[in-house]
Symmetry: C2
Subunit: 348 residues, 2 copies
Amino acid sequence: MPVDHSLNTEFPGPVNPGYHLKKENLKSVSEYANGILTGNRAMLAKAITLIESSKKEFHELGNAILEKCYSNTGNSIRIGITGVPGVGKSTFIEKFGMHLIDRGKKVAVLAIDPSSSLTKGSILGDKTRMQTLAAHENAFIRPTPAMGMLGGVAGKTREVILLCEAAGFDTIFVETVGVGQSEISVKNMVDFFLLLMLAGAGDELQGIKRGIMETADMIIIHKSDGQNIENAGLARHNYQQALSLFPPHPSGWKTPVQTASSIDNNGINEAWETITTYYDTVNKSGFFQKNRNQQLVNWLHDAIENELKTRFYNLPNIRKKLARFEREVLAGKLNPARAATELIKLSQ
Amino acid sequence: MPVDHSLNTEFPGPVNPGYHLKKENLKSVSEYANGILTGNRAMLAKAITLIESSKKEFHELGNAILEKCYSNTGNSIRIGITGVPGVGKSTFIEKFGMHLIDRGKKVAVLAIDPSSSLTKGSILGDKTRMQTLAAHENAFIRPTPAMGMLGGVAGKTREVILLCEAAGFDTIFVETVGVGQSEISVKNMVDFFLLLMLAGAGDELQGIKRGIMETADMIIIHKSDGQNIENAGLARHNYQQALSLFPPHPSGWKTPVQTASSIDNNGINEAWETITTYYDTVNKSGFFQKNRNQQLVNWLHDAIENELKTRFYNLPNIRKKLARFEREVLAGKLNPARAATELIKLSQ
């Protein structure tokens, strides 16, 4: 069954009010949950739309579905992939995903789209992306809108990961463009963080946020094909040298730098071998579970804090006066701590 | 006038209730403010104790003093310094600070102490640290306790920076141990971020948090003296090479790697030259002001969010039930989003 691309039109902006949902068409929590647990992708897609909806009745239904499926979640490798536009994330994920599907895996790709808005359209709006993967019955591709400051950069991505796991997807890619803040959020919800780069240390780095390279679990120099092979090899060597000077992973893992070509199909299997080696290593050492536990606790506190912020910043009085306080702070008329105290008072 | 080290005993724990403050000894806002504005360091020290106090009447008095002085703040270079224990931060700051004082500067050193607690004592508890600097009338040295999650890692450090500026200190060092989260907070409140390292890329990196090296504005390979000079030079070369592969500073600044010895007094003036070059460059480009403005807005929102969190986590009902919810989340019985919703409900 091919992916229903028309679902993309359900994401007209950073907050999806669930435009295409109609109350009279909704099914029961059990129907959705059973659909998901038997691998029905249409049900999965609809549940995601529900959980991402900004309408209370819809996202509460979505949450109830997640709860029903919750004991069937967790059984996947969660892989974050980032890199600047042009590095070839889609072609890489397509090749990598097909490679895994050929080995019996079920692959979900969630693309966090920081640029999605009513006017700009989605990172996945281009229907030519990942055509082969998108058409395969063991793949599920889905954009997930960034929610802006209030909902957290990653919106409901964590919930969506869990729903995909409940539907039987055992390898989850969370794709993000490495230019904003979303990659930090993604790092906090995946088991493995992969950075794609190009050979040559020039302009292509301008877009990467500082601090990202040090946090990657693997760096792949992509587009290592044709005349680019030599440069890619050199870049691989240089980055490997550079990383050896940088702080080690908390688990003791040493970030490898590898090359790959999605055109020549080179380095694809090697990338997977690295991920499985990582998985085996951190599983054995206990770091895998420790990291997942920490992520659960972080999620709880993030969710609390996002809710507190959302409530605060949406108060009519705060919406009306925040901008003026910001201006006075910037004009040096008011110190930020005092401005915060005043605003908190106005919220009560 | 030497620094009154006995002030350190006013910081018995992460939240300073102002033990040594007595209500009947307090002066008026104007007296404190005038004292600070005329460079009276005893008044400055007392105002800092007030603003850091967890007792409402004390910290409100502190805030009022800051407000009175606020138009006299901002006129300093704020320099963050981090590095693992043993890298020689104190000896470096002492030499560097004296170098600047010899050139007519007034130097304040604020040490954020993540380990301060009733039992562990303070990073500055050892009175032998920075003895020469501490004894100089143009220096002011002060520990500033990390406040833990609720008050934000850096507690009231931003306020303390401003009070020091009002007292005429034109070069402010904010020292932190590069092992926790405080260096990220510090990065967000300074103009320039300096990382001290040692030659050799081995164990001494274990303590540095990943992502820190990429965010430094200058790296100094410290203890470049005696038999260590050659190694330090080599390390300098290697790190400079490595950094050239990493993303550039948003301002376009290229992070230099330099060597220094606080024993031989080598590289101290060169470090200052780099900082003044940076200052001139970002001043001309407008990045300096842009960065300070962004920090003001961030401070406002951090202050709001810290207050919202503090209120929430201190509610009796939440204090009683949070741990149980965390346990259920970790046991897989409850998903974090639902746990957050339930806790928010309990808070109302």
